[in-house]
């Protein structure tokens, strides 16, 4: 391994090294601690300018109650779930189908198609803003969950197709030859061979997609207007305007918004990292 490992025979050096890493980590996460500490404070404490000292009184509960009763964060939170969960599921289904065809079937234009998926996926999303907004207005979908779901599914299908295509292309060729020799149709191959084998890829992909879609802010402000459909990221940004100096409440709301992706990440960390690095590192 590189860098050279500190040997087990030098426990003190190992301990010292770990301590150094944790100090660097503490600096790295300082902004997060600041928000956590502030979420514990009372408004008087914030007003008195106690930003970095220990809170004079623990008021986390009070701040959370304020977030839930005096703001619409709970509504926004549900909206985010209503947008994120079906979008993720749809992308998984569509990209398994497209990824399978691109990985296992040769046809004219396949490379061009693949390149288009990559290029579309890397484009700054602002490039699509005007036409997509216009499209949703003319379909009567502007300011509905449908607008956000359709856009997210279309956009993420590009990335997800890439991902699934690479995974399915790396599956052992013999399986497919055997299936073909037995006269299995492409549909049967997909259902009986591909789907059971791509489960790890789907797990990795689903957590990535969930995080991407949950954290979206741009489309939330471009395609929605009313509180009834606004997701939690747009809600948080609004809150900053309305609660300008109540940093204790804003901080509590910030933590609340971050909970789902952070929890998902810690539950499925292995998949998350595998997902992000798949394709990047081919040995």
């Amino acid at each position: 391994m590189y860098p050279r490992q500190i040997p087990e025979t030098r426990p003190v050096a190992r301990l010292a090294y770990a301590a150094c890493v944790w100090i660097v980590l503490a600096v790295w996460l300082l902004p997060v601690f600041a928000i956590m500490l502030t979420a514990l404070r009372t408004l008087e404490d914030v007003m008195a300018g106690n930003y970095w000292g220990w809170p004079d009184r623990i008021n986390l509960w009070g701040n959370l109650v304020a977030v839930f009763t005096q703001t619409d964060m709970l509504r926004y939170f549900l909206n985010s779930l209503i947008i994120t969960l079906p979008s993720t599921a749809l992308v998984l289904i569509l990209s398994t189908m497209t990824g399978y065809v691109l990985a296992r079937h040769r046809f004219p234009g396949a490379t061009l198609l693949f390149a288009t998926f990559i290029a579309g996926n890397f484009m700054p999303q602002q490039v699509f803003m005007i036409p997509v907004r216009d499209l949703m207005v003319s379909l009567g979908l502007y300011d509905t969950f449908g607008a956000l779901i359709i856009f997210h599914v279309a956009f993420q299908t590009g990335f997800a197709t890439l991902f699934m295509r690479n995974f399915i292309a790396a599956l052992p060729n013999e399986l497919f030859q055997a299936a073909r020799a037995e006269g299995a149709s492409p549909g049967q191959v997909l259902v009986q061979i591909v789907v059971p084998l791509v489960r790890p890829a789907l797990a990795a992909l689903s957590i990535l997609l969930f995080t991407f879609i949950w954290n979206d802010y741009f489309w939330a402000i471009v395609l929605t207007q009313t509180d009834a459909v606004k997701p939690v990221t747009a809600g948080l940004a609004n809150l900053r305007g309305e609660w300008a100096s109540s940093w204790n409440v804003i901080s509590a709301a910030t933590l609340f918004v971050a909970i789902p992706p952070v929890v998902m990440f810690f539950l499925m960390q292995r998949h998350f990292v595998a997902g992000l690095t798949m394709g990047a590192v081919k040995g």
């Binding site: 660097v24 691109l102 700054p124 803003m129 992000l276």
Partner: protein, 293 residues
């Protein structure tokens, strides 16, 4: 008869499987990108009919000081984001030890990447607060008076970019950690036998093996720099006085606040063109690697 029906089915199924995802992608994404270019040749308020104006939106861009501010800021974003891969590599090297608690430390280092950009923006507005923020405390500690970075037209873009760099470094670190785990042990061992150490070892033995990963980390950082929008919207709304806009943000403002969709589309097209340079570079390399593999 049976044979033709079967072969038809074998040909038709892939097309049917491809169709839904592909159609959605072509209609919503590809068609929209092309239509942006078409709209940029018109004057349009977003509701009424479009009026053909040819290239005059682009001519206006050339003389628009705000456009040059945005373009300059895009260059700053790109330049500062070049720091993400080396910083990510540095942290990856730091935590790549098999010591207890190191696994947990790694996951905590990833954390900024999982937070939404809105969250990161809010956290850093707090961090930069000129009266009580952490930055202000640091300045006070050295006896200096803290600058209000977010209301200074000189510093505001740097302040925003450094906030955005935080999750980007975490991303690069994940990539490099994965890369470090695929290093060829024999070559490393041979290097150690030859007494290669520290910097020499990194430069001549480790980095060449990380080329693929470094390339991806760089490409993803450049793309991330060009598509930055959320954090500008949250931290500064392009201000003060438009000094922290980039092309993406200016385009959003011109379209949705000034109802100049044609002009906004022209800005988007410029952004598209800049991005295309990076994407073509990326694709060519990717296809070359794929062929040689």
């Amino acid at each position: 008869m049976l044979r033709t029906r079967r072969s038809l089915r074998h040909r038709a199924t892939p097309a049917l499987l491809l169709a839904p995802g592909l159609l959605l992608f072509l209609v919503v994404i590809v068609f929209s990108a092309l239509r942006t270019f078409w709209i940029s040749l018109h004057a349009w308020d977003g509701f009424g009919p479009m009026t053909w104006v040819g290239l005059s939106n682009y001519a206006e861009l050339w003389g628009d000081p705000q456009f040059w501010v945005s373009l300059r800021n895009n260059v700053i974003w790109l330049a500062v984001f070049l720091l993400a891969p080396p910083m990510g590599l540095a942290i990856a090297l730091l935590v790549n030890q098999k010591i207890r608690t190191m696994r947990l430390a790694k996951s905590l280092f990833f954390m900024p990447l999982v937070l939404s950009t809105v969250t990161v923006g809010v956290i850093f507005v707090w961090f930069y607060d000129p009266s009580y923020g952490l930055l202000a405390l640091l300045f006070h500690a050295f006896g200096a008076s803290p600058p209000a970075v977010l209301s200074s037209d000189t510093w505001v873009t740097f302040a925003v970019v450094f906030a955005a760099l935080w999750p980007q470094v975490a991303f690069c670190m994940i990539l490099f950690l994965a890369g470090l785990n695929t290093l060829d042990e024999e070559i490393i061992g041979a290097g150690r036998v030859d007494n290669a150490r520290g910097w020499q070892m990194l430069r001549h033995i480790v980095l060449p093996q990380l080329r693929q990963v470094a390339f991806i980390a760089l490409a993803i950082s450049m793309i991330g720099a060009l598509r930055s929008f959320d954090i500008i919207a949250v931290m500064t709304s392009g201000g003060p006085f438009g000094s922290s806009t980039n092309l993406a943000y200016q385009m959003y403002q011109e379209s949705l606040f000034s109802y100049r969709f044609g002009y906004g589309a022209a800005l988007a097209t410029v952004l598209f063109a800049i991005m295309m340079v990076f994407i073509v570079w990326y694709l060519l390399r990717l296809l070359r690697d794929e062929r040689s593999a």
